[in-house]
């Protein structure tokens, strides 16, 4: 089941998260919803990311693919180069560079879609109200009372069950 609690400020949310974690709830069970980004103090609700690594790996892969393709194309249809090499790093450097960047851009966008969960099947989300911060907790029914107590103590103004 899902519980939602409404808060007026980021500090109260941080307090609720700390309290829930002390009760054994995991960071993956909690989600903070807001109309603008909320700064939660470090370590409480960190989200692991592979975006940078994937962008670098994708950039390198695109560069390699561009190199292989351009090299193949230039030997497959050799233009008269007047004694200059058929394939040259200098003349093709720009192409490799742009493909490298394109690889990074593509991977960043794809990883944004993946890590934000926009591509995956979603759990029910609360309706956002401007200026309010909502905390959603996924928990078993038997632990709902403990979670509710933590939320109320942290200053939640409304705790309710969220249905899909």
């Amino acid at each position: 089941m899902f519980l939602t609690a409404e808060f007026a400020d980021a500090q109260s949310v941080a307090q609720a998260i700390a309290s829930l974690r002390a009760q054994g709830f995991d960071g993956d069970q909690m989600d903070v919803f807001s109309t603008e980004p909320v700064e939660i103090t470090g370590g409480l609700l960190d989200r692991p990311t592979h975006m940078s690594l994937t962008a670098v790996a994708s950039a390198a892969s695109f560069c390699l693919l561009a190199f292989l393709f351009v090299r193949y194309a230039q030997y497959d249809y050799p233009v008269v180069t007047g004694g200059m090499p058929i394939f040259s790093w200098w003349a093709n450097g720009v192409i490799f560079y742009e493909f490298t960047m394109f690889g990074s851009i593509t991977a960043t966008f794809v990883m944004f879609l993946v890590e934000s969960g926009l591509l995956t099947r979603r759990a029910p989300a609360p309706v956002l109200v401007a200026g309010r911060i909502l905390l959603r907790i996924s928990c078993e029914a038997r632990r709902a009372a403990v979670a509710t107590e933590c939320l109320r103590q942290a200053g939640a103004t409304g705790v309710a069950e969220l249905r899909g």
């Binding site: 975006m51 194309a73 230039q74 720009v94 593509t106």
Partner: protein, 435 residues
């Protein structure tokens, strides 16, 4: 057909979303005028396709004319957004927040327009796709060593990156707007917001992506205008074959980009009544940037011309003379006045610096930078190495019409964008006001 956006949020949303509602008479008139001019330009292009490229004023030896001038100019303008926005984002300049989207939109539209010109310039534009590498029955591959191919890859990369860079921070606004709108707008916003719920995982992913994109797009933006500069520098033409051309073009692009941003912001501020959000301090800061770039531009211009003069090569001096005291001299000195003299006077004196003077400087710099592109393309072609081949370029009504229509198209795209999407990111503005 529902078009309303019922605002139930706080005052900020009310103000920033108000321009999305309804159509004023002035708006419709502006849209109609830009559409007619744009359509006229398309008609002229059609005329050129039917009658052949001879209807343009490009003749031997000036085989590049207005179309290439416009290409370089618009690609330069495209540096308004993504590059400036990326620099300000990476340096975490708080004042950037009301500015970035207006700038990023300029980039996308300017790139779309700029990328059209090499195609317009082609004698047979319907086979432009031969530039793309695809398996074909002719067993040919494009020549990747050609700067034209470099342009294709660089501009494609920059355009795709800029579209993503504009789109990503729009998503939270679109999700909010979908709650408050109805009819086709609701469907459009819901579709484009991709099911954004405002969860912290989404905010984290967005911030990470924007930071990464800012770094990448900066590198791409610099490369794009360097590649455009190399279109010239790789040719052994007098005053083109210069090592300084890459950075000279990049500096000029950022210069004209800031000018375009200033002008766009000034118009938006007045037309959409956003005086409360686009403050004099934003114009003051952009004015300082414009002044800095003006000084940098004049430094590059002096460096470029002084080196030529000292070298005293006959072919280069022929072009140099044509520019400084010959047939192109009025354009050259007008360019210096627009890009340096006037902005320097208006922007360096603190008392004179205001929204109006910054806007005036922006307009003159835009004019001056267009003339600068003209001065780069034409004199070198008019005075090639072979003295007997000298010529003078005069544009025809077809080229002038197509040029005018692209300016109209830019305004039209911008008008439509401002009516569909909030020009200031509400969440970014709120985020900074909290921070």
């Amino acid at each position: 057909m529902g078009t309303s956006v019922e605002i139930r949020g706080d005052g900020l949303r009310g103000t920033l979303w108000r321009p999305l509602n309804g159509f004023s008479r002035r708006y419709l008139l502006a849209l109609a005028v830009t559409f007619i001019v744009g359509a006229w330009g398309l008609g002229c292009w059609g005329y050129q396709i039917v009658r052949g490229i001879g209807v343009a004023g490009i003749r031997r030896p000036t085989m590049w004319g207005f179309y290439l001038v416009n290409f370089v100019f618009w690609i330069g303008i495209s540096h308004a957004g993504t590059l400036i926005s990326a620099i300000l984002r990476l340096t975490d300049a708080g004042w950037r927040k009301p500015v970035t989207r207006a700038a990023e939109a300029i980039t996308v539209f300017a790139l779309m327009i700029g990328a059209m010109f090499p195609i317009i310039h082609l004698g047979r534009p319907w086979i432009f796709f031969w530039l793309f590498p695809y398996p074909n029955s002719r067993l040919l591959w494009p020549n990747f060593r050609s700067p034209l191919l470099w342009d294709v890859t660089a501009i494609s990369t920059y355009l795709s990156g800029s579209v993503i860079y504009l789109y990503l921070p729009l998503i939270p606004d679109l999700a909010e707007l979908s709650q408050y709108s109805s009819g086709w707008r609701r469907r459009l916003y819901r579709l484009l917001s991709l099911g954004w719920t405002g969860g912290d995982r989404q905010w984290h992913a967005l911030e990470r992506a924007m930071k990464l994109m800012a770094g990448t797009i900066l590198a791409v933006a610099v490369s794009v205008h360097t590649v455009v500069a190399w279109d010239f520098a790789m040719a052994v033409a007098p005053m083109w074959h210069s090592t300084i051309y890459g950075p000279y073009f990049v500096a000029g692009a950022i210069f004209s980009g800031i000018a375009a941003l200033v002008v766009a912001m000034s118009v938006i501020r007045r037309m959409l009544h956003l005086e409360e959000y686009l403050l004099p301090v934003h114009f003051e800061n952009l004015g300082k940037l414009l002044l800095l770039m003006s000084l940098l531009w004049v430094y590059f211009t002096v460096a470029e011309n002084l080196t030529t003069w000292y070298g005293n090569s006959p072919a280069e001096m022929s072009v140099f003379g044509e520019r400084i005291r010959g047939r192109y001299a009025p354009y050259f000195w007008f360019m210096v006045f627009c890009n340096f003299v006037l902005p320097f006077v208006l922007l360096s004196v603190r008392r004179l610096r205001s929204v109006t003077t910054v806007t005036i400087s922006g307009v003159t710099v835009l004019v001056g930078m267009w003339v600068e592109r003209f001065m780069i393309v034409l004199p070198s072609l008019s005075r090639p190495h072979l003295p007997a081949a000298t010529g003078f370029y005069t544009p025809t009504w077809v080229e002038i019409s197509i040029t005018a229509s692209t300016f109209a198209a830019m305004v039209m795209f911008y008008l439509i964008f401002c009516k569909l999407f909030p020009i200031i990111a509400v969440w970014e503005y709120k985020h900074v006001s909290h921070g």
